[in-house]
């Protein structure tokens, strides 16, 4: 039997799981809002209200969590998808996918800080 090294999967799986749960709970409704309700004018998203939400502590946390967890969920599954198609995956690809999600998280965090509040 090959060396039974402890896997680091738990870290990424936890993020994947959190993102999966969040996207399962409110993903469809979010998409419905930005994709259908907003263009049809069923809801109004004024700039003033949006900024107020983003400046609010709860709003910041909500926006950061949604963007970050959706990204970590998506990239983890994408990494496994590539493997499922028979493509050899290694630590480089893993770092690239999760690094992308981390960058997205940092970008979101930085933007939220720059909005102030």
């Amino acid at each position: 039997m090959a060396a039974l090294k402890r896997s680091n999967k738990p870290i990424f799986w936890s993020l994947f799981g959190a993102g999966g749960m969040l996207s399962a709970l409110i993903g469809p409704m979010l998409i419905l809002i930005t994709g259908i309700a907003l263009p049809l004018g069923m809801v109004n998203f004024s700039y003033e209200r949006a900024v107020a939400f983003a400046q609010n502590g709860f709003g910041k946390a909500a926006i950061l969590l949604v963007i970050s967890l959706f990204l970590f969920h998506g990239v983890h599954r994408m990494y496994h998808c590539v493997h499922d198609f028979g493509v050899h995956v290694g630590p480089g690809l893993k770092a690239a996918f999760h690094g992308f999600a981390a960058l997205g998280t940092l970008a979101a965090g930085w933007l939220l800080l720059s909005i102030g509040g």
């Binding site: 039997m1 039974l4 090294k5 402890r6 896997s7 999967k9 738990p10 499922d84």
Partner: protein, 241 residues
Amino acid sequence: MSRTIQIECLRYHPERDAAPRYQTYEVPFTDDMSVLQGLQYIKDRLDGSLTFRWSCRMAICGSCGQMVNGVPVLGCETFLRDYYPGKVRVEPLNHFPIVRDLAIDQSDFLEKLESVKPYLISKNVPEKAAFLQTPRQMEDYYQYSQCINCVLCYAACPQYGLNSAFTGPAALALLHRYNADSRDEGKSERMKVVNAEDGVWGCTLVGYCSEVCPKGVDPARAVNQNKIESTKDYFFRFFRK
């Protein structure tokens, strides 16, 4: 007046074949005949060279696993009438090397079984009589103890097909069977297998294993429950004494 059905079998005799080929047989059948009985008819009356495993004929020994029209099933509990008038294509279980005709080399599975320490590990054995266990304690592991090692789940699992180092559904279900047994104290010894990349983390919850299991073991549940255990073990190991 009997009907006949076409049974197409994968044939592979390594001494004469470079690669598998297919051979079709016309088999007279009745409504109560299983695929296994169809194969037995072929071997007894049409072609004695056809090789396949079987034993109990009643879905308890786990020997007669085959791919029937692309689905892993036990030949003894799969019926020809359900495929008529279509053709029945019988192939050896997926993801295992073919030894001869419909017989696979399952030695890797046997190694995986050994690796999970599938026995009660207990220092506190009661002096008299036996361990006591409540019905609820038995419920915690009972379904996982029903495994007949038929390896249909390995034939179903694409992750095992893509990477045979993956411990796999039945072995991990058996591992969980012992971890979940109140009489067992060997969980920490089995965690190494659980925590490895080819342990529970080789699973992406395709779930087909539980779908094809003839005994309701639900290996997908056993494996994925242990992802939480593995995660707990990963993060809390620093807090253990």
